[in-house]
C-alpha cells in the first residue's frame, strides 16, 4: 500500500522568506511524486512532479521540490514566498511497481498543508 504524510497542518512564513512544505511517502515499488495546490473553491492545480532523473525538480510559479530516496521525502520549496502563494498544498504519490497494475494508477494524497504567507 502507498501512503503520504504531510506532518504540518499549517506553515506560516513572511513574504520574501524561503518556504518549505514537508512531505514523506511510503511505497512498495518506485515512487512517482506530485505536488498540487488548491485555492478556495477551485480544483487542484498541478505544480510539479518527480518521475526519474535529477532529484531537484522545478515546477510552476517558482516552486521546486527535492526528492530524497533515503529519507523517502519530497519537500516543496520556494526561495522567496509571495502573499499570493497562500493556499492549500497537497503532496501525492503513485506507486509504479507495475505498469499494468491499473489499480495503482490512482494518486494517494496527503492530508494537505495550509501555507500562509504574511505581508
Amino acid at each position: 500500500a502507498q501512503s503520504v504524510a504531510q506532518p504540518e497542518d499549517q506553515v506560516n512564513v513572511a513574504e520574501g522568506n524561503p518556504l518549505t512544505v514537508k512531505c514523506t511517502y511510503s511505497v512498495s515499488g518506485n515512487p512517482y511524486l506530485f505536488w498540487y495546490v488548491q485555492y478556495p473553491n477551485r480544483g487542484l492545480q498541478f505544480l510539479l512532479k518527480y518521475i526519474t532523473g535529477d532529484n531537484l525538480v522545478k515546477g510552476s510559479y517558482g516552486f521546486e521540490a527535492e526528492f530524497n530516496k533515503s529519507q523517502t521525502s519530497f519537500h516543496l520549496k520556494k526561495p522567496s514566498a509571495l502573499v499570493s502563494d497562500s493556499a492549500l498544498y497537497f503532496c501525492a504519490v503513485r506507486d509504479y511497481s507495475s505498469p499494468r497494475d491499473t489499480g495503482r494508477r490512482a494518486l494517494t494524497f496527503g492530508s494537505g498543508t495550509r501555507l500562509q504567507v504574511q505581508p
Binding site: 480544483g43 512532479k49 505498469p99 491499473t102 494508477r105 494518486l107 492530508s111
Partner: protein, 118 residues
C-alpha cells in the same frame, strides 16, 4: 484549451435522494478518475476509467455509488439513497495515460462538485 469541467458545482440533496454528478474531461484524455474530498482532508480515490472501461472501482465506499463512462469521454458518478456521510467535494481528473505505458502524465483536476446531504 478547455480544462476539466464538472457540473453541477453545488448540489444539495435530502437524505435518501439520488444524485448524478457529471464530468467532462479534457478532450483526448484517455484516463479518468473520480476522487472524494472530505472537509479538511486530501482527495481519496473512488474509481478509474481507461476509455469506457472501468478498470478499478476499489475506492467506491458502497454499492450506492456507481460510475459510468459509456462513450469514453463524459463520465457520471451516481449516488443512490444519499446519506449525510456522502457530503463531500467530488473531484474528477483526467490524464493522457494509456494502459501498458510508463504512465507518468499528471492528472488535471476539475473544480469539483460540492455535495451537501441534509
Amino acid at each position: 484549451g478547455a480544462g476539466v469541467s464538472q457540473s453541477p458545482r453545488y448540489k444539495v440533496a435530502k437524505r435518501g435522494q439520488d444524485v448524478a454528478l457529471r464530468c467532462d474531461p479534457i478532450s483526448g484524455h484517455v484516463s479518468l478518475f473520480w476522487y472524494q474530498q472530505a472537509l479538511g482532508q486530501g482527495p481519496e480515490f473512488l474509481t478509474y476509467f481507461q476509455n469506457e472501461a472501468q478498470l478499478d472501482k476499489s475506492g467506491l465506499p458502497s454499492d450506492r455509488f456507481f460510475a459510468e463512462r459509456p462513450e469514453g469521454s463524459v463520465s457520471t458518478l451516481k449516488i443512490q439513497r444519499t446519506q449525510q456521510e456522502d457530503s463531500a467535494v467530488y473531484l474528477c481528473a483526467s490524464s493522457l495515460a494509456n494502459l501498458g505505458t510508463r504512465d507518468y502524465n499528471e492528472q488535471f483536476f476539475g473544480p469539483g462538485t460540492r455535495l451537501t446531504v441534509l
